[in-house]
């Protein structure tokens, strides 16, 4: 019995370690190739803590009102079974339902929209039509849940981001009227993240 346990133990440990390495290496890359990092749902712990705490149960996706949360499946990066958001396809409406259903605290419970810190929006001043004066747009401001705080408009509806107020929901990136790469993009940023 001891021999059987030992043999099976060695086999199990090595097999599972390989699996762990595989999962880790998958999770090392961003969900979308070319993006600097993976945008996680609101309340997500710092990446290492998040990957540890998430039990890959997908309840956040079920709860997501906006339908923005996707679950990583290879070849997506971000770690299979974990939730992520591609802002340019669909941003988060900050209903915070996902933070309420997360059973492990991988998404911390949040009550106030202002407490979210998923990321921060960054404007490409060269391609933004309002800033480079090829148009009057304002779409990013219209959709911002913290409009007039996180985004304000200047002349010609030129948007300006207020980093301290922007929570990184990504609705602006989704709304940006540019095709392909948007003039406003959300970069992941989490409290306590390295």
């Amino acid at each position: 019995m001891a021999a059987r346990s030992a043999a099976s133990g060695v086999l199990a440990l090595s097999g599972l370690s390989i699996l762990a390495l595989l999962i880790r290496s998958e999770a090392a890359g961003p969900a979308v190739p070319g993006e600097p990092a993976t945008l996680r749902p609101p309340g997500a712990l710092a990446e290492a803590g998040f990957l540890a705490a998430c039990i890959r149960c997908e309840r956040c996706r079920d709860a997501c009102e906006a339908g923005c949360i996707r679950i990583a499946r290879p070849p997506d990066g971000a770690g299979r079974g974990t939730p992520f958001i591609v802002a340019r396809e669909r941003g988060c409406t900050l209903c915070l339902e996902c933070t309420r259903v997360c059973p492990t605290g991988a998404l911390r419970r949040l009550e106030e929209v202002e407490d979210v810190a998923m990321g921060v929006a960054v404007i490409d001043e060269r391609t933004c039509v309002a800033i480079n004066r090829t148009g009057v747009c304002g779409a990013c401001h219209t959709v911002c849940p913290l409009r007039n705080r996180a985004i304000t408009l200047g002349l010609h509806n030129a948007p300006a981001i207020h980093d301290d107020k922007c929570v990184g929901c990504g609705l602006c990136e989704e709304a940006c009227i540019l095709d392909g790469t948007k003039a406003i993009r959300v970069f992941p940023r989490r409290k306590g993240a390295a």
Partner: protein, 302 residues
């Protein structure tokens, strides 16, 4: 052989399977996300059913959060911290297991349901002599796997067992498939292959071969349910040694004679199969020895 509790068990399994498909259908956000009228209707529906969502791995029923103890164990071990809602979500599953034993496996587990559905197929294959002889695996492997899995999880800081635990895998595949088809993003993954592998293993290595010998979650439920209150009572006087119960037992026990303490999942197949009513459910702290018959010795299944 109609046994109401057995029917209820089958019904529960079926309901869980149906919910695996319907759940994501209801949870889907509609083609345009949260802001359109279509999805508003959908989200209304969802709100009504929001009290029931998730799967066997992690679910919400009537505002009560529920977790597979293995999920909780992984979560705690990997983040090396506990979380109050996580502990609360464990109360009911653990309590039920402690009282009723490893009933998750027989009543809820979608992989178990899948395996049971394969039984008739296996019988067909057996008739055609396509199934090799039963592979007898040591039941202890699963405990080793559990311990090893938690150890690796702790060391790597990343849950690993959910990737080899069939009910979690099956539920996630169904979920992802439904969402993927609705979103138009579906792509098969290696997990599907793994599931097929396990089904093949089930077909070739014998009934519930995975559950008996390899399932880490099963192992955890076995341990939690070892002191269960609901057990099989055997009345040796009535036993005619017809061995029907031995044939019936999916996890390969001899219900009349074995010490079923740790392994039995109270599936009630043996009770339903016994023509003499020698077996029944009863409240007891421990298995009564099966009087009159030599015990402690497993008999080979026919």
């Amino acid at each position: 052989m109609s046994d109401p509790l057995r029917t209820l068990r089958k019904g529960t399994q079926g309901a869980v399977a149906i919910f695996l498909v319907v759940g994501p259908l209801l949870a889907w956000h509609g083609p345009n996300g949260g802001s359109t009228r279509i999805s508003r209707v959908l989200s209304d529906t969802r709100e009504r059913v929001a009290s029931v969502h998730g799967d066997s791995w992690s679910a919400q029923i009537g505002g009560v959060s529920l977790l597979d103890p293995l999920a909780a164990a992984e979560g705690v071990v990997s983040q090396k911290a506990s979380f109050r809602p996580l502990l609360l979500a464990l109360v009911l599953p653990v309590a039920l297991t402690v009282l009723l034993g490893r009933v998750f496996c027989s009543w809820v587990c979608p992989a178990g349901f899948l395996f049971e559905s394969c039984d008739s197929l296996r019988r067909l294959l057996a008739k055609a002599s396509l199934v090799p002889g039963r592979v007898r695996l040591w039941r202890g492997h699963k405990y080793v796997l559990l311990v090893a899995g938690l150890a690796v999880t702790a060391l790597a800081g990343i849950p690993v067992l959910s990737h080899v635990y069939p009910p979690a895998l099956a539920a996630r595949e169904v979920h992802d498939t439904v969402f993927g088809l609705l979103d138009g993003r579906y792509a098969p993954t290696g997990a599907l292959l793994f599931l097929f592998g396990i089904v093949l293993f089930e077909l070739l290595a014998g009934r519930r071969a995975w559950c008996r010998s390899l399932c880490p979650g099963g192992a955890l439920y076995c341990l939690l349910g070892s002191g269960r209150l609901v057990r099989i009572r055997r009345e040796a006087k009535r036993c005619t040694d017809c061995a029907d119960c031995i044939v019936a037992c999916p996890i390969g026990l001899d219900p009349m004679h074995d010490r079923t303490g740790v392994e039995c999942d109270n599936c009630r197949e043996c009770v339903a199969s016994c023509p003499e009513d020698a077996l029944s459910f009863a409240l007891a702290r421990a298995d009564a020895p099966a009087a009159g018959t030599p015990s402690g010795q497993e008999r080979p299944a026919p």
